[in-house]
């Protein structure tokens, strides 16, 4: 009996609902109001990319032995095209033995070879100025050139892990001597991209 009743109810529903559902027009612009999940990753034109990185470096001066340092760098990069940007970097080294401490501020173009992709590699060249041993009495100012390669791995649309190999070089005048200063560093860090 209950089976028959439910069969009847089903039949009734089938007939009753058909005209109802065909009357109610489907909302035609439903898709326009859906916001798809963010899935766009990669380097694009216009992007502003801000990152903080830490790593290690060796600071070397010709005729002196090289010393190891912790290297810290902050970069702001504005992309003018998907593959060309301008980056401004601030670099500071923290030497282990308190010798040859470098601070640099540099500006220069960057090139990205794999825009619009989750993994991007790039090159940059820049220049600016630097100080050696700023916090000591023998502080020296100098011009600084930099160059390096980057590897960006996008975690989300907004967040990327950055790896950077950087070589900075300049000529410092110390006690009337011109000394070539070179500092290769390897850095990694997190960046916000928008």
């Amino acid at each position: 009996m209950p089976l028959l009743a439910s069969f009847k109810a089903l039949l009734f529903l089938a007939f009753a609902l058909t005209p109802l559902t065909s009357q109610a027009a489907a909302y035609p612009l439903e898709a326009e109001y859906e916001v798809p999940a963010a899935k766009e990753v990669g380097t694009t034109a216009g992007q502003l990319r801000i990152r903080g990185m830490a790593g290690g470096g060796l600071i070397a001066s010709i005729r002196e032995r090289s010393t190891a340092s912790v290297a810290l760098e902050g970069v702001i990069e504005k992309m003018f095209a998907p593959w060309i940007g301008l980056r401004a970097s601030g670099f500071i080294s923290v030497p282990f033995d308190g010798q040859l401490q470098l601070i640099s501020a540099r500006l220069g173009p960057s090139v990205h070879f794999l825009p619009y992709r989750a993994v991007d590699v790039g090159l940059f060249f820049d220049g600016g100025f630097a100080t050696l041993d700023l916090f000591t009495d023998i502080r020296t100012a100098m011009a600084m050139l930099g160059s390096g390669t980057t590897l960006d791995v996008y975690v989300t649309s907004s967040v990327a892990i950055h790896f950077e190999g950087l070589l900075q070089g300049g000529i410092a005048s110390r006690n009337g001597d011109a000394r070539v200063i070179l500092m290769p560093s390897l850095l990694t860090g997190l960046g916000f991209v928008f």
């Binding site: 909302y27 612009l29 326009e32 798809p36 999940a37 963010a38 899935k39 928008f194």
Partner: protein
């Protein structure tokens, strides 16, 4: 003898053209305005129906950058402060992802318009940063003096994506605001139109929005019409131009007829779709003019000189046929009981009536204890929906959007709905690529000039200020022509 200018249309551009001409040359020129309706103001008009009730053609706002319009009103003796009420820099956007209304408050300091967007809390953090950065770039670009016209053939969504806006961010309601505001949703809006809007609204003052405290025609257009009549213009209603008559490169006459007043005047909410019925035996020709300024909307213009192949195959007029218009929708409701009140328009609600404004506090005339709410939008996508279906959907949608208990028709003391389907009431779509087809004031006929929000002008966005700006160029061109003959 005075030279004679005939102006077709008594909307913002027609009235402004008449005012300009008579202010500059009342002693040398005679101005006659013919228009097809019985009420002045064109698409920005209100009118009185058979029951004596005031009906608005559609909700209109005036923005801070409407300096030409404010100038015209001032010259006509209308006090802007008395006629208009500020929405105090407030607007609201409903985001479907958050299911919330988000308020944009641009009142107070004279901050850049772009700052409105960066303070907007309606997007998740990463998207918000991306959106704000792109809008800031767009704003800087728009105000940089760059030639924005070069960006007309691309839609604003694509333009922004080329500058790094994430594709999905274009789907947030905040990014749709301009498309909706110009009734271009679900169509796309050209980057030129969007950037030009940012340029025009470059600070809080220029972006401040005002609404009329009364009925538009009563408060604005009738006093403006009275002003042009005081200056010497003759205004002739119920005169519908059906054809231009020409010889060589001169317009020598206009074929006109009297539209059947069944329609607007006698209670129906809009002119019928398609051709306007004409009174029998009312066809005649007008030829008492030296020069003509036509402010006929593009949709209607394209129906004139129907059988004249040479006219429509000429390069100038063939281009105009590429312009499309939107069927706008408008609705006013007055609730019996007050409902949740918000200062400023709400954008982002579901189409077709996706913009709503609570007018209760703005109107001088009181409408009982309830709330007066104006809705507007456009029909695209909903052509097959009946008026009733659109009304019911909108009532339900509005209540849901604002988090109120449902509003039923029984809760209303007034409901008016307009489907501006007739081509006289449609608004130009500013979709990508159309700008090259918009003519300026001059035409191939030496004595015919075009004005109207759809023609190219110094403002160049489709609105009342654009219409009035177009009247500046058309009236100057017409006077220059008359000074030569």
């Amino acid at each position: 003898m005075k030279k004679r200018i005939l102006i077709i249309g008594a909307g913002p551009s027609g009235l402004a053209a008449a005012a300009n001409i008579l202010e500059m040359a009342a002693n040398e020129v005679e101005v006659t305005i013919v228009h097809m309706g019985h009420h002045v103001g064109g698409k920005a008009a209100s009118y009185v129906n058979a029951a004596g009730e005031h009906i608005e053609h559609g909700w209109h706002m005036v923005l801070g950058f409407y300096t030409r319009m404010r100038g015209l009103l001032a010259r006509a003796g209308i006090s802007f402060d008395r006629a208009f009420s500020s929405m105090r820099g407030q607007s609201h956007v409903y985001e479907t992802w958050s299911k919330r209304l988000h308020t944009i408050d641009a009142s107070g300091s004279k901050v850049a318009f772009a700052a409105r967007f960066s303070q907007y809390d309606g997007l998740p953090f990463g998207d918000r940063a991306n959106y704000s950065r792109v809008m800031a770039d767009a704003f800087l670009f728009a105000t940089s003096g760059a030639n924005l016209l070069e960006h007309d053939d691309i839609c604003f969504d694509a333009w922004a994506q080329e500058r790094g806006l994430r594709e999905h961010v274009t789907r947030y309601a905040i990014f749709r605001v301009l498309r909706e505001g110009y009734f271009n949703f679900p169509e796309r809006i050209s980057a030129y139109h969007a950037l030009q809007t940012l340029r025009l609204m470059s600070d809080t003052q220029k972006a401040e929005a005002f609404v009329c405290r009364g009925e538009w025609s009563e408060t604005v257009w009738k006093p403006v019409a009275a002003y042009v009549e005081r200056l010497g213009a003759k205004i002739i209603p119920y005169t519908m131009v059906t054809d231009f008559i020409y010889e060589g490169r001169r317009i020598t006459g206009l074929r006109v007829s009297r539209p059947d007043p069944e329609g607007h005047h006698h209670g129906a909410s809009s002119w019928p779709k398609g051709g306007i019925p004409r009174e029998a035996n009312s066809d005649h020709a007008l030829s008492t003019f030296d020069s003509v300024i036509s402010t006929i909307p593009v949709g209607v213009l394209c129906t004139l000189n129907q059988t004249d192949q040479a006219w429509w195959q000429s390069p100038f007029f063939a281009r105009i046929k590429n312009l499309r218009s939107a069927t706008t929708l408008a609705m006013r409701i007055i609730t019996k009981e007050p409902v949740r009140q918000l200062m400023g328009p709400v954008f982002g609600m579901r189409a077709p009536l996706g913009i709503a404004t609570d007018m209760t506090g703005h109107l001088t005339e009181k409408h009982g204890p309830g709330s007066v709410i104006d809705f507007c939008g456009q029909e695209a996508g909903f052509e097959s929906w009946s008026d009733d279906a659109i009304v019911d959907f909108t009532l339900e949608n509005y209540a849901r959007t604002l988090g109120m208990k449902p509003i039923a028709r029984a809760d209303l003391s007034w409901l008016e709905f307009h489907r501006n389907a007739s081509n006289h009431e449609q608004l130009l779509l500013c979709e990508p690529g159309v700008n090259v087809f918009r003519p300026g004031a001059k035409t191939p006929f030496h004595n015919l000039f075009f004005a109207g929000d759809w023609t190219r002008n110094d403002v160049d966005v489709v609105c009342m200020e654009g219409a009035i700006a177009s009247a500046d160029s058309a009236s100057r061109a017409a006077l220059a022509y008359l000074s030569q003959i």
